[in-house]
Assembly symmetry: none
Homo-oligomer: 404 residues x 2
């Protein structure tokens, strides 16, 4: 019996309300001059106040040293073992730009690339602008394919998402992207040695699409071809709402997190584009759900842009909006990040994330400041993010005991 | 190779003596006025002295957030993975009231209930008194059943234990208890889709028993029927005495813990009804065993009654009796709880348990006080209770090294 099966077996409905605030990419690294991380450098009276009333710790999404993508990091926060459940690249790309996905649809991640004499010379086509990308997607949006519909839409720079719709499609396909320059794009093939007819047919459709796309792109430069990878359908993931017997809602601005929440069974609430709007959405729907996933993106975006000060500011902005959340009086409030994004690195990192859990039924610790160093002394130690869900359910008194 | 197989492979006999004192339900939550837990509020000079000479930490019996029953919590302390080994409800009920169980016997947990027009209206029959329960068990103790003997005896209130004896019985049976009111009691059936003849026969015996029991109870009110669940035989658990090459004894007052100890291979010593008697028993048998499991129940009973001060007193009582244990000079002494039972909650909880291990061969830490908060700073951190056995064997110099 794994962790999720165990929690599902023990979970019971209750009246208590739980909120998890995920500040994307929250964890950081010390500024070389001050020795303080972005979080530790921020004015954060509300976060500190919550820390003083919480049990604190640090979480690993996957494993010490392993940097998580946003998909697995969030799955861990929702209680899924991120090594057993995966949302693949194609689906994440489609969800990430808000493309609706039906259960039979097959999504793929697209890179525009440069080829010369049939050989890939740049897998990112010189990182063309998103505007150019949109033009190319438009150019590719009307290729006639018998019996199947598709959508291709730009992500950022050279990245796009491609979704095929229609019954009888398979995602058991190999990539056309060889993942290296100096090679030709590969034909898409069924990925299994004895493929079913759906995979054969879908590979054929994909190759016809790619041939005609090549024809339409041939005079474009540098983006004169496209590469596809990560063919995937919506995964068969047990709904966390059913497992934990909760009515769950997501308050998130960015499409990918909204999509992720939907995949695990949450109702995705309409909200505005900033954190204050998210707080208002939370208040509006407070009566209707047991569990709220609130996602704050700016900590990560600012971290990835490499701006230490801008990430500090993003944390301060969130802190300032927290009183309205506290006024709702959640029985259980958890605050953490999905992964670290140190501004100095400018990308996701493996460092554990500060975590705090406030509930009437948790022991408190001596930590009264929300930061990476302070949380090290917290009562939860360093623990797997997949434990968060059990801790939240327990302190919401929503778990029966195990065994007699 | 799992943890237990590894330890079994490495274990060697030695002359050293190990004691684990399990103070049932030891861990607690802070008193709202003082911020101190029950343990932290107690006068505990001996526990503190041991802490000062120990390496300390906190244990999870199962998993963060998961509240253990006493069965799985003790199995973890004895080094079993509690998710892989389970002692089921029927056996625990029988052991809990001291009914002897042979290896072929099948035990079930019984609830007396109320039915009206064939429908269960109260699964607990208004929580009848234990005295009434005993009368009903007497009434049910002489139902003639061909070729099989049985015993039915009261637990507390509406609960009883039922044990069937005789060769060829099976425990692969479904419950007659539908676990809900508004339904009829269910017939007992073989639980497997293709049952063996023993299961078919045992189900038939059980249903004949239940029919005649219904007849004998029909004029009783409110307890005019009984429900059975958790049919089970003694589990096939590898004996921890054999695995670890130890002679082990249990000093426990309550039948359930005595039964648990017996299941894993310990010799269960005759003892009195209080902790001082347990200490005397320990001294009397000191020469004869390598490992002593000493169980102290009052910390849990007082916690479950919801009395903070009474739990504090129970801890102080145990502390006062400890010098006689220390005088025996165990090479390894561990003190912990099986689970937390915060008086404020009045039931088992998921919070990790304070733990300390005193041995000449352990590093000490700075912790000189035995309490939940102090143990957080201990040298063992927060760790699974199933690691305790390996730590005890190691510091008793009873484990070979792994690999060359």
């Amino acid at each position: 019996m794994n962790r999720m099966e165990l929690l599902a077996k023990l979970a019971v409905p209750e009246e208590t309300k739980m909120v998890i605030l995920v500040m994307d990419g929250l964890g950081g690294l010390p500024h070389p001059e001050t020795g303080l991380t972005e979080l530790e450098s921020a004015r954060r009276p509300n976060l500190d106040r919550i820390a003083g009333e919480s049990i604190c710790g640090l979480t690993h999404a996957i494993l010490a040293g392993v940097t998580p993508g946003s998909g697995p990091a969030h799955l861990a926060i929702f209680g899924y073992d991120p090594l057993n459940y995966d949302i693949e690249r194609g689906v994440l790309s489609a969800l990430g730009i808000g493309l609706p996905l039906g259960k039979d649809d097959v999504a793929a991640r697209v890179n525009f690339c440069t080829i010369e004499n049939g050989i890939i010379t740049d897998r990112r086509a010189g990182r063309i602008s998103t505007e150019k990308n949109a033009e190319l997607c438009e150019l590719l949006s009307s290729i006639p394919l018998d019996g199947v519909e598709y959508t291709i839409q730009p992500e950022r720079e050279h990245r796009a998402a491609l979704v095929f719709r229609g019954p009888g499609l398979s995602d058991k396909l190999t990539d056309s992207d060889p993942q290296r320059t100096g090679l030709s794009p590969l034909p898409v093939k069924p990925s299994e040695p004895e493929p079913d007819p759906e995979a054969v047919r879908t590979a054929d459709i994909m190759n016809r699409f790619l041939e005609q796309a090549a024809e339409r792109l041939k005079d474009q430069h540098p983006a004169n071809m496209l590469l596809t990878r990560g063919f995937s359908k919506l995964p068969h993931i047990p709904l966390f709402t059913e497992l934990y017997k909760i009515r769950a809602a997501a308050v998130a601005v960015y499409p990918m997190y909204r999509g992720l929440a939907q995949v695990v069974g949450m109702e995705v609430l309409e909200t505005g584009s900033d954190f204050s709007s998210e707080m208002e959405t939370l208040a509006t729907h407070w009566a209707d759900f047991d569990y709220f996933f609130v996602h704050y993106k700016n900590t990560d975006s600012r971290g990835e842009d490499g701006g230490f000060e801008r990430k500090v500011k993003a944390i301060e902005d969130a802190d300032a909006a927290l009183p309205s959340l506290l006024e709702l009086g959640p029985d259980v409030l958890a605050v953490t990040g999905d992964h670290s994004t140190p501004a100095g690195l400018g990308m996701h990192s493996w460092h554990p994330n500060p975590f705090m859990l406030r509930s009437k039924w948790e022991r408190r610790d001596a930590v009264a400041s929300f930061g990476e160093t302070a949380c090290l002394r917290g009562g939860l130690g360093i623990f797997p993010a997949a434990d968060i869900m059990g801790l939240m359910l327990a302190s919401a008194l929503r778990l029966n005991k195990f065994g007699a």
